[in-house]
């Protein structure tokens, strides 16, 4: 764990001086200041982080300096010398490079070229990414048989081409240089055949396999289940335990209790007018089953479009999530209250005796129930995977009561062919291990030494097992301690099959031969069967005959591989089962004993890293987490009031104690977090075995986690000495601001409405975020532009806003068609292309999928924690989160911000070497070769979307990463500026194809990487000159607006103002 325990600024500075790149001591936020400032302030106001709300001196200092956190680098003697040294070397190299010739480049042609391969043209293959909540169907872009991009499979009936951050990032997971490369026996290199021999021989000696225990990750593969049944037939005493640290036990337990058997719920949000989320983060990522169809359907119904009624969402949750922030009405409750609230709803809103539910929650419940009653049959309650079973049972009862079953929710058999309650099974396994019953413990893709509940003392039990086998992609915590370690093949390297959320089976086919000769779970189970040499391919194909019913199997098999899914395998809705009548439900599993003065400690999978399996994926580590914008860290997340009650300030080190186990973490205040509780994210704090990226980042919350209360436990929080300098990316966007805005801060008399926070000031006064309620937009469809003219209250009267308002006139130019983008082709009379993008703020749910997709498509480097801390992260697209309103119950707005490709771009005008220029089609291009790194362009960019390679961030050396690069995009070196290109490589490829055929580029030929990944279709790209294009249609709507339009940069990216549909009763 990284911990700055000094708490002493001098000491900290000394430590810092030794580095080339320095970090400044964290700005200490005093919550009392925030509180004082907030007194008496009301109205719609926005803010991005708490420092600015408090107006701390440190914050002002940062505003006034151009690159606040880098400034000290130049005055510090040591680092200046270091800089000169580095610069000297690079100048010498630059001089040399000018005098040398290009080295001879060899060509290695094929000996026999593969059939169908056209070098230079990518190929696409369908497959699926197996994930415990259901496989994600993918279409993999393959360049000369190297997978270089993973995207959703557009032909799949469930996902329809959408994808998410994890799925996108599996590409880097494949090429992770720290992957395990060999079979190991007690740490020494060994052979797969030796393992097979040892295991199968030992198994035969055991009485019916007694003593063989498999500990597997959640199974979604029908073939693996079939293989297990074969193993069981041969060794009836062998046992299979499925367990993952983040599992679906609550849903399974509730379904068993309600239906008598394990069932999955599938939600049909396209039919829902009213959605109630009970701690379900179904817009956050695939950690919630059904994320892709649910997010798509939610966004489709949430758009304000003619002919479709807008949905309305209520969210009750503990930790602020993107789902809660997208909800029209959100109630923050700590876990124990949340369970009682669910019971309250199921009981028809009658307060239960002895319940701690307060009046605001009761009136919330009454309003929700009334709304659901009014839209019976068109409403749905979605329980969260980490909510206790009682919440799931309440959701089932409510869905039954309001006629949701069959309309907005259907119950089906489970995606997991062998459903179970995993923690209970693990407990039995541990007691068997302790009792010495376990001779062989074969772990398939799990890492229990890192992630098992701490109170089970798994490691002690593990050490009592004579033969431990670990199948894993890395020699991780468990792999290093196991007798045998088998290197696992990545899903992009192996054959398998898996069920998606809707039950559809996809065949997983390898995209590349196993790079390190890895093995899969199929081969592990096959080892015990009669013919251990049967490959995963044979096993999958043999089992596929059970679900591919076609008479012509060979053709149907090929079609399944081509399409990426097997027709007719989707689940059908189960016939209605008897449900318990809705009545007061006692929380049997939700009792959380909190001692006097204690808090409820909530455990959630990390929004970026899930349960820790992605810890060594740099793209995900660096990804700013949803809501908190934490990167390379986790923290004790709590509300302002809770922090205040404990006397804790932001970035203070706090000690969290659960059942006597203690851990130190940094405190981070999250707007909208439930009071009386603290959330910690699982999946960080990996040990050195995790790899070069994941090792030692954050703290391991599994250490606190009890097996009986895996998602919320009573605990205690105390302030300790020291500060933990958390890595939050938000502050990097405040590098500098215009003089107007600073004036507004220093001269309060201009500020008549209390919008004193700077980005908040800009979000509102400069109308960066625009939205209206449904009633408002009906009354005034042009609300996004109502303040543009010279009218009272108009934007031009606000401080910092350009005197010409939204549509300033063009400067006069010598060139007659200087601003024209309407040239016609002389022979065909077709108008030229004019590229543009439109982003719908109503649809954007802030899930981060676009950022990871951009990483993969554009060869964006990972810079590391220290660099992110000083604002040097390289993501070309970021999601700006603007909070609004009450600090305790805020609303949030997500705004993807990327290069706006301004027609009148400030960056182009200040570049001394013409390295950033405008193309005739209106792209703002970066010419890396010309760039000399003055960073003037970055200075002059009002959207703060340019990224500079301060150091050599791109990895030019690691062999495995070279395979991953997109060959159509330059890998940038040190000293050059870069930024979003609108995926110019895709534009050029589409243009070449169109030009060859003498036709215009059609709408939809060009899909940018962010647009492709977006599960909610928030991003649309195309030719604005084509009136039939989607982007032109979006830009023609009244709600379309430009950010900072008054500056006359004329951005090509525009935003569609949001519309929300609040319940008047709760407004």
């Amino acid at each position: 764990m990284k911990m700055t325990n000094s708490g002493n600024r001098e000491q900290g500075a000394e430590h810092v001086a030794a580095q080339v790149v320095t970090a400044i001591a964290p700005a200490q936020l005093t919550l009392a200041e925030v509180r004082a400032k907030l007194e008496g302030k009301s109205g719609r106001r926005y803010w991005k982080n708490l420092d600015e709300l408090a107006e701390t001196p440190g914050f002002h200092e940062m505003l006034e300096r151009e690159f606040p956190r880098q400034a000290s680098e130049w005055v510090d003697a040591v680092s200046r010398r270091g800089f000169l040294k580095v610069m000297g070397a690079s100048l010498a190299l630059a001089g040399l490079a000018g005098c040398t010739k290009q080295p001879d480049e060899p060509i290695f042609p094929y000996v026999k070229a593969p059939e169908d391969l056209i070098l230079g043209k990518p190929m696409y293959f369908a497959s699926a990414f197996p994930f415990p909540t259901g496989a994600i169907p993918v279409l993999v872009k393959s360049d000369a048989f190297r997978p270089i991009k993973v995207d959703g499979n557009p032909d799949h009936p469930m996902s329809k081409g959408k994808s998410d951050a994890y799925t996108q990032a599996t590409l880097l997971d494949l090429y992770d240089p720290d992957r395990s490369k060999e079979v190991r026996l007690r740490g020494q290199p060994s052979e797969w055949a030796d393992f097979q021999q040892a295991f199968s021989t030992a198994a035969k000696k055991m009485n019916g396999g007694e003593g063989i225990y498999f500990l597997s990750e959640t199974i979604t593969s029908p073939t693996l289940a079939a293989q297990w049944r074969q193993v069981q037939a041969k060794y009836p005493q062998a046992k299979m335990v499925q367990w993952e640290p983040v599992n679906r036990d609550s849903a399974m337990a509730a379904s068993k209790a309600v239906f008598g058997s394990y069932m999955d719920a599938q939600y049909k949000l396209e039919n829902a007018d009213v959605i109630l989320s009970l701690d379900a983060d179904f817009l956050g990522g695939i950690a919630q089953p059904g994320f892709l169809p649910m997010a798509t359907a939610y966004a489709k119904r949430h758009r304000y479009e003619a002919g479709s009624a807008m949905n309305r969402m209520y969210a009750v949750e503990t930790m602020a999530t993107v789902t809660g922030m997208k909800a029209e009405h959100r109630l923050a409750l700590k876990p124990s209250d949340l369970a009682q609230f669910a019971a309250l709803l199921a009981g028809g809103g009658e307060a239960i005796a002895g319940s701690a539910i307060g009046q605001p929650a009761q009136s919330f419940a009454a309003a929700v129930l009334k709304d659901m009653q009014a839209s019976a049959g068109r409403c749905v309650v979605v329980p969260g995977e980490q909510a206790p079973p009682v919440v799931h049972m309440a959701a089932h009862a409510l869905n039954e009561q309001f006629g949701a079953v069959g309309n907005t929710v259907v119950y089906t058999e489970t995606v997991n062919p062998m459903p179970s309650e995993q923690v209970a099974d693990l407990k039995v396994l541990v007691s068997d291990m302790n009792a010495g019953k376990v001779q062989w413990l074969v772990m398939l893709g799990v890492n229990p030494l890192y992630s098992a509940p701490a109170d089970l003392e798994f490691e002690a039990a593990f050490n009592k097992v004579p033969n431990t086998v670990h199948l894993g992609s890395h020699v991780d915590e468990t792999g290093a301690a196991s007798v045998w370690h088998i290197n696992r093949a990545h899903y992009l390297e192996s054959w398998s099959d898996a069920r998606a959320y809707d039950g559809t089976i996809s065949i997983i086919q390898p995209m590349i031969a196993p790079m390190y000769g890895g093995h899969s779970s199929h081969e592990m189970l096959q080892t015990l069967l009669d013919d251990p040499q049967v490959s995963a391919f044979d096993a999958v194909q043999a089992n596929a005959k059970t679900y591919i019913k076609d008479a012509d199997f060979a053709t149907a098999w090929r079609r399944a591989l081509h399409d990426g899914w097997v027709e007719g395998t989707a689940f059908t809705a189960a016939t209605a089962k008897s449900l318990p009548s809705a009545g007061p439900m006692k929380g049997n599993n939700a009792e959380i004993s909190v001692q006097q003065g204690g808090v409820e400690v909530v455990f959630k999978p990390d929004p970026s890293l899930y349960d820790g399996r992605f810890a060594n994926v740099g793209w995900l580590q660096e990804l700013p987490k949803q809501i908190t914008n934490l990167s390379w860290d986790n923290a004790a997340l709590m509300s302002l009031a809770t922090a205040e009650g404990l006397g804790v300030n932001q970035s203070d080190a706090v000690e969290i104690e659960v059942e006597g186990r203690k851990l130190v973490a940094g405190a981070l205040v999250v707007p909208g977090h439930a009071e009386g509780s603290v959330t910690v994210h699982l999946g960080l704090g990996r040990r050195a075995e995790a790899g070069r990226v994941g090792a030692g980042v954050g703290f391991n919350a599994y250490y606190l986690r009890p097996s009986d209360a895996p998602y919320a436990a009573g605990g205690r929080l105390t302030k300790t000495d020291g500060i933990y300098d958390l890595c939050v990316t938000k502050v990097d966007t405040i590098e500098h601001r215009g003089a107007f805005a600073q004036q507004d801060l220093s001269d309060k008399e201009f500020d008549t409405q209390g919008t004193y926070s700077l980005p908040g000031h800009e979000a509102m006064e400069r109308a960066i975020i625009r939205y209206a309620t449904l009633a408002e937009v009906k009354a005034n469809p042009n609300f996004a532009h109502e303040n543009e003219g010279d009218v009272p209250g108009a934007l031009i009267n606000k401080v910092g806003y350009g005197p010409e308002g939204e549509k300033p006139a063009h400067d006069s130019s010598f060139f007659p068609d200087a601003w024209g983008y309407n040239h016609k082709d002389v022979s065909s009379q077709t108008v030229q292309n004019k590229w543009g993008m439109a982003i719908d703020l109503n649809s954007c749910v802030g899930c981060n999928a676009c950022i990871v997709s951009c990483y993969a498509e554009n060869n964006i480097p990972v810079v590391g924690r220290e660099q992110v801390k000083i604002g040097r992260n390289m993501q070309w697209i970021r999601i700006d989160t603007y909070f609004e309103g009450d600090l305790h119950a805020p609303r949030a707005h997500f705004q993807p911000m990327l290069c706006q490709h301004c027609e009148n771009a400030g960056c182009e005008q200040v570049c001394p070497v013409g390295a950033t220029v405008h193309t005739p089609e209106g792209l703002n291009t970066m010419v890396y070769n010309r760039c000399v790194g003055t960073r003037y362009c970055q200075n002059n960019c009002v959207y703060k979307v340019r990224r500079f390679n301060f150091l050599l961030y791109s990895d030019f050396d690691t062999e495995s990463l070279k395979f991953m690069r997109n060959p159509d995009v330059t890998v940038r070196s040190r000293g050059v500026m870069e930024k979003c290109t609108y995926c110019v490589q895709r534009i050029e490829a589409a243009k070449i194809e169109a030009d060859k055929n003498n036709r215009p580029v059609r709408d939809g030929d060009i899909v940018t990487a962010c647009q492709q990944a977006c599960p909610t279709d928030a991003i649309v790209f195309g030719n604005i000159n084509d009136p039939k294009s989607k982007v032109a249609a979006r830009k023609a709507t009244e709600r379309d607006y430009q950010v900072l339009a008054d500056l006359n940069y004329r951005p090509r990216t525009t935003y569609t103002a949001g519309v929300i549909n609040p319940n008047p009763e709760l407004a």
Binding site: K101, Q102, D104, E105, P106, I107, F108, P109, Y110, V111, K112, A113, I118, L119, G120, K121, H823, D825, V826, S827, S828, Q832, V917, T919, P920, E921, L923, T925, V927, Y928, N929, D968, V969, T970, T981, V984, Q985, I987, E988, I992, D995, K996, N997, N998, R999
Partner: protein, 284 residues
């Protein structure tokens, strides 16, 4: 005290002023010439290849078509370097014992690639694309020179950016009918050798949009029928002589390359120079 500097120093000082200027100019000119020189560009140099492959022998002597080896030139950014299999197609039958071909046989036997040295080697930040050039009327010889007359392969042109831009600023100077792409000996029309062209009236790919002939269509040219091409195909060479016999009528006679070039620029919808010279055309 005696004067430190003699009167002759004045002359020296003046001379050194002039000399300094001269040195700067000479240095500038030298460096400028140096970076354009074959020493830097490798223009005209014959690299030391594992097999002394003769394009002259195979193209001019044997009449092999370019695409027999460079198979993907019309459909991909890479023209394609032939796999060993392509060599072995013939050389398993002829010259099976030639010492020069030992590396080819070794490659075939061991499965290891023949390691050639790249002659036309653009910098890595240039994204050149063969298919669009070939499909829009730029012949092989326009860039690669008379490959059919090269016993050993070398680079005819500098492939420097100024050379690329020369054409991108004025593509008409080098455009030829797509039927003549692989014609190494093609020369633009002149008064002695005019070219007649007519639009086919069909849409679709560039290759099918214009008919050109070097024989007067009015004079009952028997080859003309063979030049009619089908619309359905998008590749230059996928000519189906049996299809599309509709005879275009509007033949125009061209006697200079610039006339033909500007005609083809319009017919082939070549993008205007400002788009062709835009940075993102070649750099990403």
């Amino acid at each position: 005290m005696a004067q430190v500097f003699d009167r002759s120093s004045n002359a020296l000082a003046r001379a050194s002023l002039v000399l300094t200027g001269l040195i700067v100019i000479v240095l500038g000119v030298t460096l400028d010439q140096l970076q354009r020189s074959p020493w830097v560009t490798r223009q005209g140099q014959r690299a030391d290849q594992p097999v002394p492959f003769s394009h002259k022998h195979h193209v001019q002597g044997l009449g092999l078509q370019c695409q027999y080896c460079h198979t993907t030139v019309e459909v991909s950014s890479y023209a394609g370097i032939p796999p060993t299999k392509t060599c072995i197609n013939c050389h398993s039958q002829i010259w099976t014992n030639a010492a020069l071909l030992q590396p080819v046989r070794d490659s075939w036997a061991t499965g290891q690639s023949i390691q050639w040295i790249k002659i036309h080697d653009l910098p890595d930040f240039v994204y050149f694309n063969h298919e669009i050039h070939v499909n829009k009327g730029i012949g092989c010889a326009s860039c690669h020179g008379r490959v059919d007359e090269m016993p050993l392969m070398y680079m005819q042109n500098s492939l420097q950016m100024e050379w690329c831009l020369n054409c991108h600023r004025n593509p008409a100077a080098n455009l030829r009918p797509t039927g003549q792409i692989y014609n190494m000996a093609w020369q633009g029309p002149s008064t002695d050798k005019p070219v007649w062209c007519a639009p086919t009236g069909k849409g679709g790919a560039t290759a099918q949009s214009v008919d050109c002939t070097t024989k007067d269509p009015a004079g009952g040219n028997p080859e003309l029928a063979m030049l009619q091409t089908a619309v359905k195909s998008t590749a230059v060479s996928d000519v189906d002589p049996g299809a599309g016999l509709a005879m275009p009528e509007q033949y125009r006679k061209f006697t200079s390359q610039m006339d033909l070039g500007s005609y083809l620029t319009a017919q082939y919808h070549i993008r205007p120079p400002n788009e062709l010279t835009s940075c993102e055309t070649c750099h990403r």
